[in-house]
Amino acid sequence: MSTIKLKGYRRSDSLFGIRNNIVVMSSVSCANSIVERIANTDTDIIPITHQHGCTHMGADTEQVLRTLSGTCNNPNVGGVLLVGLGCESVSVNDIASCADGDGKLVKTLLIQEIGEIQKIMDTARDSLHRIKDFVSKQQRSDFDIRHLTVGLECGGSDPFSGITANPAVGLVSDRLVELGARVILSEIPEMIGAEASLESRTPDDTVRRRLLAQIKDYVQLAKNAGGDLRGCNPAPGNIKAGLSSIEEKSLGSIIKGGRSNINEFVEYARRPKCKGLVVMDTPGNDPESVTGMVAGGANLVLFTTGTGTPVGNPVAPVIKISSNTGMYRRMGDFIDINAGEIIKGTRVDAVADKIFEFLLDVCNGRQTAAEVNNCREFAINRIGPSF
């Protein structure tokens, strides 16, 4: 089988980054302002803040820790400064101990331990100096595309999403799978009604059962919250635009995963073990879903949109693909590839080739619209309440 070589930053034998990001991350929301202040001193440093890290229970504490450590572990990250308060439930040491040592430098700082703001800023500057020194010595080297992980997302879909952008991304997904890479399909609530298609290409009994059970769970969760995903989907706007049923909407969404077999089902922000197409349990909320896939190791995300959205990610390039030309013309700054030309007669596989070529360029360093615009959404999917 033919293969493709890319240039990336080696973290281990099977993990390569396509970026060499330096991140300053809060372990708890109480440290957010300090993280912003530290990041403001240097444009090369990416701040990651969030609303979690304390006063949540069991499954949430695990999920927050998994998401934060997974983000640090993403191969696109070369160095991390973790900033904690000192009394939170998700500690900087918990996050650091989950982060790889290989090819990456992680440092920690506790606000309560250091005390004064100037001392905190001085400590941060020293740590970042060492991280920058470490990261600057790393060079891009050849790696095989089979070490790449790509996440799939759609947000602000329109009726053309399922016949232009998503089928084109589906062809790219199949091609990546054939080349031995890993592709993550997500957004479980957008699979309701498409079970037959997913079932027929999930050979493993356990994987199939877990996936189908999770789809059912979302229907029940919505009911418990007083809603009905089947009743409100397709939404009135979808129906007005020609979508007739939730099956049609969901099939149009999952087509971005192509026709490959589904090899694994992983929980939110968990790094998959299998190559090929895998499914991650994420919600339809775009920033939360993308954050989960990137914490699960996605090097980059292919993101289709009908209504247009700026959503990016702090550490992974997000490639935006528009489903219609009207939106592309209005929001061109936010879009990398226009699949809307399929409506005017361009072949789906020609657009897929364009997306694939762009993806290779992005792996080798080309910036996406979301990167140019500094769109860096980070949102952790939350399960229960704060106490």
Partner: protein, 95 residues
Amino acid sequence: MNQRRNLADYAIILSGKDNVATAMVDLPAGDYMSHSGENQTTITVLEDISASFKLALSDIRKAEPVYKYGYVIGLAKTDIKKGHCVHVHNLVSSV
């Protein structure tokens, strides 16, 4: 015959199993040629169909499945004639 429009210029059939096509642009009522493999058939579109709405490619009887992407997207609520628009007025979700 040669003046007949080509359905493929107006609508897309996403799977060989499908009994609906999706209009990519506004699809005016009238006669069209449809190619599937080597077979060439004609279809009379019975009503104007707006872009992104669906066209029945064959007669679909009440309670029969409607296929798009090669999978069932719902059941016919009423008998649907080949050439008619398929939407919430004649299709019901089977979820």
